[in-house]
Amino acid sequence: MLTPSKYWRESPQRYRLEAAKCTKCGKVFFPPRLVCDSCKNGEFEKTTLPDEGKIVSYSMIHVTASNFSDEAPIALGIIELDNGTKITAQVTDCTEDELAVGVPVKLEFRKVQEAGESGVLCYGYKAVLKR
């Protein structure tokens, strides 16, 4: 369930695509973490993910979780951003026949879900097709 604190804690990533770059081997982590899984280094510098990339895989989800049912069907994608980092995001404002592996996209700021009729509004990134 989406409570305000749980939502708020991730906002640097969801709002600004903040990531962490290992100061030793350069691997980028999204979301940031405390230890690098490649070189075990514990020091990172703040970095921002690029907001453009391409679709690695996608699915038009017809049976959604209940908090997304008003927007069904939703297109879900794995997006490889221009720096190589992969993220899971909805592909919004598109029809099924426009989706394909390799299609270029950019990320936009969108409302991702609502915590019920009266709960917090939850924002983040979604992909849109570059047209």
Binding site: Y15, D70, E71, F109, K111, G116, L121, Y123, R131
Partner: protein, 349 residues
């Protein structure tokens, strides 16, 4: 000299045609099209609201300005469709732009004038030297009751302007605000849709205030219509801004670039601000621009801008307004439009 250092507009890609709405309510589409000079309007997707459109417009403005977001000292969003009744829109936008925490945020509301209010206050704070940069945003996902005349025009869009005093692309040469208490349009607490006074919204409301503010700023600056290359007025329908412009002596060629309403609809707080972005997209150095907003209740804010050399460097740095208006459109049927706008009653859990 203080002025605009960056600007950006955001228009959703969905559209609905006047005929599609008229068909549902048994209304006469040709008379709306002719009488109000409306063809179609923009519609937000279910995942778009004032906050999301403000973030996109704000990002474009920062991109054009080329400034560090941490130097933005204020963000003011004017809207009559803030997603929360209580909780600021501005803080979300500030956070998304990377402008927190040393910043002042406030959400403004003054019917369709709320956007120019944010611009006016930012300009004032910059001129006073209290902040280095300030962002004024006008954005709305306007409400129009099903079947009401407003449903044909109430649309969605946002415009953001970053004010500062270095790297200015358009100086603010003068401002003038003009207001009285005139109840031509309102929405009470807990109501979903606004109400309006019909023809009362015209002469004693829109025209009195728009013309009042425009005449005062012209007198203040000693300028006349022919001293301007461009002018844009609040545009609740196609007719009103053209008529206001004509009365003031502007010809169609001066008005057309910022006159977006026939295919955009009325973006309420975004209306004249988005018109201004369309003008900045094509403006040449040295050109003078008049912008006059109007908000029911009622009042107008007028601005005189002069475009600088730097405009040519920034126009192509972010999507242009008329490109967003003309390209990449998706037409909705009324059923989908009603779903997108939350007009369908569902089980409440």
């Amino acid at each position: 000299m203080e002025g605009i250092v960056g600007y950006g507009a955001y228009i959703p890609r969905n559209r609905i045609k006047v005929e599609e709405i008229a068909k549902v309510w048994g209304a006469d589409a040709p008379s709306y099209k002719k009488g109000l000079m409306l063809e179609e309007k923009s519609v937000p997707s279910p995942d778009q609201d004032v906050i999301t459109m403000s973030v996109e417009a704000g990002r474009y403005a920062v991109k054009r300005a080329g400034v560090d977001p941490k130097e933005i000292g204020a963000i003011y969003i004017g809207s009559e469709s803030h997603p929360y009744a209580v909780k600021p829109s501005g803080t979300v936008v500030a956070e998304a732009l990377g402008a927190t925490p040393d910043i002042h945020c406030a959400d403004y509301e003054f019917a369709c004038k709320a956007g120019s209010e944010g611009m006016f206050v930012c300009f004032g704070l910059v001129r006073a030297g209290l902040i280095k940069y300030g962002m004024g945003i006008g954005a709305d996902t306007s409400q129009g009751a099903p079947g009401d005349a407003l449903e044909y025009s109430a649309s969605a869009g946002a415009a953001a302007f970053l004010f500062g005093n270095d790297g200015v692309i358009a100086t603010v040469d003068a401002t003038h605000s003009y207001m009285t208490d005139t109840p031509d349009f309102w929405r009470r607490e807990y109501q979903n849709y606004p109400r309006h006074g019909g023809r009362f919204t015209g002469e004693p409301a829109y025209f009195k205030h728009t013309l009042g503010a425009a005449r005062a700023i012209l007198e203040k600056t000693g300028l006349t219509a022919k001293d301007f290359r461009w002018a844009t007025f609040h545009q609740p329908n196609g007719k009103f801004p053209l008529r206001a412009g004509k009365i003031l002596g502007f010809d169609k060629e001066q008005l057309e670039q910022g006159w977006l309403v026939p295919r955009l609809g009325n973006t309420y707080s975004g209306a004249s601000p988005i018109g201004l972005t369309a003008i900045l997209d094509v403006a040449e150095p040295g050109e003078r621009i008049l912008m006059v907003s109007y908000g029911s209740g009622a009042g107008s804010d007028a601005f005189v801008f002069t475009v600088t050399e730097r405009i040519k460097e920034v126009q192509d740095l972010a999507p242009k307004t008329r490109d967003q208006l003309d390209n990449n459109k998706r037409y909705l049927e009324y059923g989908e439009y009603a779903k997108f706008r939350g007009k369908i009653r569902k089980i409440e859990e």
